[in-house]
C-alpha cells in the first residue's frame, strides 16, 4: 500500500462490518453473564481492536507517513504510564485495608 493512498468505499464498509460485529460480541458477552475475568479481558481486547480499526482505516493512519503515527502514539504511551504509575498507590491502599 503506497503512502497517502486512500481506502475505497468497499474497505470502509468492510471495516464498518467488523466494528458492528465486535460491538454485538461485546454486548452478547455482557448479557451472557460470563465470569468477570473473562468478560473484562474480552471487552478490553474488543475495545482496543475497534479503536485500532477506526484509527487505522477511518483516520487513515495505515496510509499516513510513520511520523503521523508518533503524534497520537506519544500521548497514548504517556497515558498508559500515568495509569501504571498510580498502581502502586492503589495496591498499597488495598493491602492496608486487608
Amino acid at each position: 500500500m503506497k503512502i497517502n493512498a486512500h481506502p475505497t468505499a468497499r474497505t470502509y464498509l468492510a471495516i464498518y462490518g467488523w466494528l458492528l460485529g465486535l460491538t454485538i460480541l461485546e454486548v452478547s458477552v455482557v448479557l451472557a453473564g460470563w465470569p468477570q475475568g473473562a468478560t473484562v479481558t474480552i471487552l478490553i481486547a474488543t475495545a482496543l481492536a475497534k479503536a485500532m480499526l477506526i484509527a487505522l482505516y477511518f483516520m487513515h493512519l495505515k496510509f499516513d507517513r510513520p511520523l503521523v503515527w508518533l503524534l497520537p502514539g506519544i500521548p497514548v504511551v504517556l497515558g498508559i504510564v500515568f495509569v501504571l504509575a498510580l498502581f502502586p498507590d492503589v495496591v498499597f491502599h488495598l493491602v492496608q485495608r486487608m
Binding site: 464498518y16 466494528l19 460491538t23 473484562v40 484509527a55 477511518f58 511520523l67
Partner: protein, 195 residues
C-alpha cells in the same frame, strides 16, 4: 474565489499538511484530557472497596444502540471524504448531513438516558460511579455537540461549493476529530458501561 483558494493553500511541514498537523496537535491535547479522566476512573474503581456492576444500573441495550449510531456516523464521515475526493458534491452534502443527523440522534438518546437514570435516582451525587459516569459521558457529549456544529458549518460551506476534489482539507481534518470522538466512546462504552 481567490479568497477560497488562499484559505486552502497549505505549507508542508515535515511532509504533513499544516492543517492536518494542527488537528493532530489538537487531538494530542484531547487524548491527554480523556486519558486523565479515564485513568482517574480506573484508579478510583480499582481502589474502591465495592463497585456496582454497570449492567444493573445502566440501560446497556440503549447504550449499545448509541454505539452503533456513532460507529455509523464514522462510516458516513469517511464516505463524505471519499465522495469529495472524487468530486461528488451532492454525495458530500448528503453524507455530511447524515453524519450530523446521527450525531444529533446520539445526543437525543443520551439526553433520554440521562433523564431516565436521573428519574431512577442515579444522579451525579448518588455514588462515585454516578459522578464518574456523568462526568465522562457528559464531557464526551459536549465533544459530540461541538462536532455536530462543525459538521453543520461544513455542510453550509459545501452548499456554497467551497470544496472540490483538489480542496478538501477541512473535510479531512474535521473527520479526524469526529473519528476521535468515536474512539473515545468505544473505550468509554467498554470500560464504563460494560465492565
Amino acid at each position: 474565489m481567490d479568497r477560497m483558494i488562499n484559505a486552502e493553500v497549505e505549507t508542508p511541514l515535515i511532509d504533513i499538511p499544516t492543517g492536518k498537523f494542527g488537528m493532530w496537535v489538537f487531538l494530542i491535547s484531547e487524548i491527554m484530557f480523556f486519558t486523565g479522566l479515564i485513568g482517574s476512573y480506573i484508579v478510583l474503581r480499582l481502589g474502591a472497596t465495592s463497585w456496582p456492576r454497570p449492567g444493573t444500573i445502566l440501560n446497556t441495550p440503549l447504550l449499545g444502540l448509541n454505539t452503533l449510531i456513532l460507529l455509523s456516523s464514522s462510516l458516513t464521515m469517511a464516505l463524505a471524504l471519499h465522495a469529495i475526493q472524487q468530486g461528488r458534491q451532492a454525495a458530500l452534502r448528503r453524507f455530511l448531513l447524515l453524519t450530523a443527523g446521527l450525531g444529533v440522534a446520539f445526543l437525543g438518546i443520551k439526553g433520554f438516558d440521562y433523564a431516565h437514570m436521573w428519574h431512577r435516582g442515579f444522579t451525579m451525587s448518588a455514588s462515585l460511579f454516578g459522578s464518574c459516569y456523568y462526568l465522562l459521558t457528559g464531557f464526551h457529549a459536549l465533544h459530540v455537540l461541538s462536532g455536530v456544529i462543525l459538521l453543520l458549518s461544513l455542510f453550509f460551506a459545501a452548499s456554497h461549493g467551497r470544496f472540490s476534489a483538489a480542496h478538501y482539507g477541512r473535510i479531512e481534518y474535521s473527520g479526524l476529530y469526529w473519528h476521535f470522538i468515536d474512539i473515545v466512546w468505544v473505550i468509554l462504552f467498554a470500560i464504563l458501561c460494560l465492565v
